[in-house]
Amino acid sequence: MHISEGVLSPAVLIGGAAIAAAGVAAGLKDIDQKEIPSMGILSAAFFVASLIHVPVGPVSVHLILNGLVGLILGWKAFPAILVGTALHALLFQFGGITTLGVNTLNMALPAVICYYLFGWGLKSGSGRSVFIFAAFASGCCAVLISSIMVGFSLYLTGEAFLPAAKLVVAAHLPVMFIEGSLTAACTLFLRKVRPELLEGVYAPK
């Protein structure tokens, strides 16, 4: 869900960049210099995971996984997603320089929101069904909120974008369910194999 260069109005670009900068600053505050190599490797893993294409009906879509990023990283999702977005622009020319802020914001804010809404459900004490629900909801909602924010960025640029914005949200409805199931299965995997990852080793203490 990257918005290309040249589409959004200056006001949206500046607003997006400003909020994203605040989020990145908040995330960076939580990161110790010592943790940077580990964070980088984890960001890289998410970057690569987002290149995976899964079939949805007759087409295939690539994974977004910002819900999972949020659950694992909390506020640190902002810097991680900023770097991922920048690399998407530099390596594949998805998005660009002026849209860096908006694109980061649209992916990272839902990640943080889901961390606060559902993160509690993933702690070691919670039962299996609560756990699955929280993970599924997080994967689902992150994509939903992101697509709404992308639609909203377009709408704020001009009312003429409204139908396009609606279509963006509608197109992501099936993706939401895939992302939800994948996030649930993936967190179950992590809970079995490496529970520390879900228990705030990376997210703020």
Partner: protein, 242 residues
């Protein structure tokens, strides 16, 4: 099925990674049913590349691949091939991705269209055959190096392949696991290609040893058995001498 059926036939295979020099250069290679071939060669000579080409994971830029006497070109051809030829990866970490051992071993049979229960049965039997009873619920990721290798082998054997391609199965393994692996291979009575840097091991469980060099396979290697000075610690590892 005749004993001398030609299972793998590579003709004039050329391959290079993007932006690199050719790794395989007009390579020719044949494997007949019943053959047990050892393959050696310096690091980077293209051994791993070769077996990946046989499985259709990499596509050669030129040359012909025939598997079970049928040309293999498209992804669809190779999908059939993968049901009959099992590849053990050089790095066991790459082969296991499910949380538990049982799930990982059952993954192949499930893909071949077996039902959940059948797949579980096959997985359990394969584990038992390899002496891995009781491993079903172990977390794959927490297995030791040697255990990972054996479980990887189980994931492949569960698909009941007719041929095995084993890419450095013993590197980094201790002597005991090496011995286990050797006995399994001798028991199985399958055709295989075994890649290794350890010629002693190859000599024990293969009929002929080929060498890779300059993108080609040199076949006319004679194996010579001769006296050699050797060191062994006393006591801990049992050892036979002639």
């Amino acid at each position: 099925m005749e004993k001398n059926e030609l299972i793998i036939n590579l003709e004039d295979i050329t391959f290079s990674y993007p932006g690199g020099a050719p790794v395989l250069d007009k390579l020719n290679f044949k494997l007949h049913r019943g053959n047990r071939i050892g393959l050696m060669g310096p690091n980077g000579s293209g051994k791993t590349t070769l077996v990946h080409i046989v499985m259709g994971l990499l596509k050669p830029s030129a040359g012909r691949i025939e598997i079970f006497e049928k040309p293999a070109v498209t992804e669809k051809d190779f999908r059939k091939v993968r049901g009959k030829i099992g590849l053990l990866f050089q790095d066991a970490d790459d082969q296991l991705f499910s949380p538990t051992v049982l799930e990982d071993v059952a993954f192949g049979p499930l893909n071949l269209g077996k039902s959940q229960d059948e797949a579980m049965d096959i997985a359990r039997n394969t584990l038992k055959f390899l002496g891995l009873d009781g491993f079903e619920d172990r977390i794959t990721y927490k297995l030791s190096g040697g255990e990972k290798k054996l479980v990887s082998l189980a994931t492949i054997l569960a698909m009941e392949p007719e041929v095995l391609l084993l890419d450095e199965p013993i590197s980094g393994l201790d002597d005991k696991t090496k011995a286990t692996l050797k006995n399994v291979l001798l028991d199985l009575d399958l055709s295989y290609i075994l890649i290794s840097h350890e010629i002693d091991f190859l000599a024990e469980i293969t009929d002929s040893i080929y060498t890779m060099e300059n993108g080609e396979i040199l076949i006319d290697q004679e194996i010579h058995v001769h006296q050699h000075v050797h060191a062994h610690p006393h006591g801990v590892y049992a050892h036979k001498h002639k």
